[in-house]
């Protein structure tokens, strides 16, 4: 196999900002800033939706199981099995069996995010010093209060680690969402016969930058959410 004769990083950058004639469309102009922005926003939308679903399912479940100290086999086993799920199969099966569009793709992507959030939340809560929990209970805190005000804050670094993994795997897999009719940035990549080779490269650049930006933002968010007491210990 050969390299792409028509693709260059310069050409890809131009493709992102202004519509270009591609090497495959015979004079039609494709790409450009408006199209890039449209796909970027759709990519963000489906990622945020899927991450929200994964959080709603996995965070309470992980907190509950961790608090009760039950279901270790389930939580950890689910987390390990989750890593083995081929992303392509999830998107392909949903598209072929259930249907295309945001409503089916977002829950499918959420499946991939549930495992890392669940296992990290469980492990994070389990690692909380039992003495701290006992002290809270002795002060008359309710069980829900203990989860909210003691266990969750102490587990935040681990929980956020899981959320970051989930965000990255969802965002990465959203790249192949055009296979299931959701036009994300992956559209430039999947439909290379429409956008040409500079479009392909432009899609790759945008997806990579988006992933690094999201990861950086979540790392910052993690620092904001971590209580000052915990920061001193790790410093």
């Amino acid at each position: 196999m050969s390299t792409l004769p028509f693709a260059s990083f310069g050409g890809a950058i131009e493709f992102i900002f202004s519509p270009q004639e591609s090497n495959v469309t015979g004079g039609n102009e494709v790409g450009g800033f408006d199209k890039s922005l449209e796909l970027l926003l759709k990519h963000l939308e489906v990622t945020a939706l899927a991450l929200a679903i994964a959080l709603i399912v996995a965070l309470p479940l992980g907190l509950y199981l961790g608090h009760k100290g039950r279901g270790e086999l389930f939580a950890v086993g689910f987390g390990n099995a989750g890593r083995a799920i081929p992303e392509l199969a999830v998107i392909a099966l949903v598209a072929v069996l259930i249907g295309v569009g945001l409503k089916t793709v977002a829950p499918a992507l959420a499946i991939l995010g549930i495992a890392p959030i669940l296992v990290n939340t469980y492990v994070g809560v389990r690692q909380v010093d039992p003495a701290a929990v006992e002290a809270a209970r002795g002060m008359g805190m309710s069980e829900l209060g203990i989860i909210r005000k003691v266990e969750l804050p102490l587990a935040i670094p681990t929980v956020m680690g899981g959320i970051r993994s989930a965000a990255i795997v969802i965002l990465a897999t959203a790249t192949i969402a055009p296979l299931a009719g959701v036009e994300t940035l992956g559209d430039f990549i999947i439909n290379r016969n429409v956008y040409g080779e500079n479009g392909l490269l432009a899609g790759a650049i945008l997806v990579a930058l988006l992933a690094l930006t999201i990861e950086g933002s979540l790392a910052l968010l993690q620092r904001r959410l971590t209580s000052d007491g915990l920061k001193v210990k790790t410093a």
Binding site: S2, A84, N191, G203
Partner: protein
């Protein structure tokens, strides 16, 4: 866009799966909502042999290369603490870039095919193996190293005979995560024409039909489980003292 992918997504299937059949003898996979077709599976299971072997080759080469690079980096960083933060950041960036994007970023340099696939998948394993090796070496108790030094072991002997054996559980834990995720992600190398089991889920611009996707996914997950168990067993065998402690 009005792509072939969309047509396939709407429930149609690639024609090459039942070329010899006429329309009135279409087997069950021709019905788009049919979940799993045993008859087709019995006739066609041999078509998964070559993709499975390709998949295995790509995974093994990637993890092997990734392991040696990450292991070497970890040994260097173990002696020179100051490079640990920049190495962690660099491998973290490689880990964060989605693999599909990474494939195509390399296209102008390495082109379509297996080389690009292996480079990307190997780069993807660096972070987890590097981090766990560093962690394992850092967890070795200082008293053990002092004892070894007191017995007259050189720095190199301490590393290979004391520190690394004690770090095996963490190193293998990292390897397990790396292998399992690489097996799953290697389905995506179909997008750069590098073969593997992804070809049985998405081929020549089309999604295949449910039966084929399910079989390919099942092989991928079985492969991941098998490697996980092999590594777990290796970990047990290479750290006999752990068994004694837990017994």
């Amino acid at each position: 866009m009005g792509s072939p992918a969309l047509l396939a997504a709407a429930g149609q299937v690639g024609g090459d799966f039942f070329k010899e059949r006429t329309s009135d003898t279409l087997p069950c996979q021709a019905q788009s909502n049919h979940l799993f077709c045993w008859d087709w599976t019995k006739e066609n299971i041999d078509r998964y042999g070559t993709p499975t072997v390709q998949h295995l080759e790509i995974v093994l080469l990637s993890v092997l290369i990734g392991f040696f690079v990450a292991f070497a980096l970890a040994l260097i960083a173990h002696r020179n603490r100051w490079i640990q933060p920049p190495l962690l950041a660099a491998t973290g960036i490689l880990y964060t870039i989605p693999s599909i994007a990474f494939f195509f970023l390399l296209l102008p340099v390495t082109g379509f095919g297996r080389d690009t696939a292996i480079i990307v998948l190997a780069a993807y394993t660096l972070q987890i193996i590097y981090r766990n090796t560093i962690l394992g070496l850092a967890n070795v108790p200082g008293s053990v190293k002092d004892a070894a030094r007191g017995m007259g072991l050189t720095q190199r002997q301490i590393l290979w005979k004391v520190e690394l054996p004690l770090a095996i559980p963490e190193i293998i834990a990292g390897l397990r995560v790396a292998v399992v995720s690489t097996i799953a992600i290697a389905t995506l190398v179909v997008f750069i024409n590098a073969g593997g089991l992804g070809t049985q889920m998405y081929g020549s611009g089309n999604l295949t039909f449910p039966t084929s996707i399910i079989i390919a996914a099942a092989i991928v997950m079985a492969m991941a489980l098998a490697f996980d168990l092999v590594l777990l067993t290796a970990q047990r065998l290479t750290t006999p003292w752990r068994r004694v402690r837990s017994a």
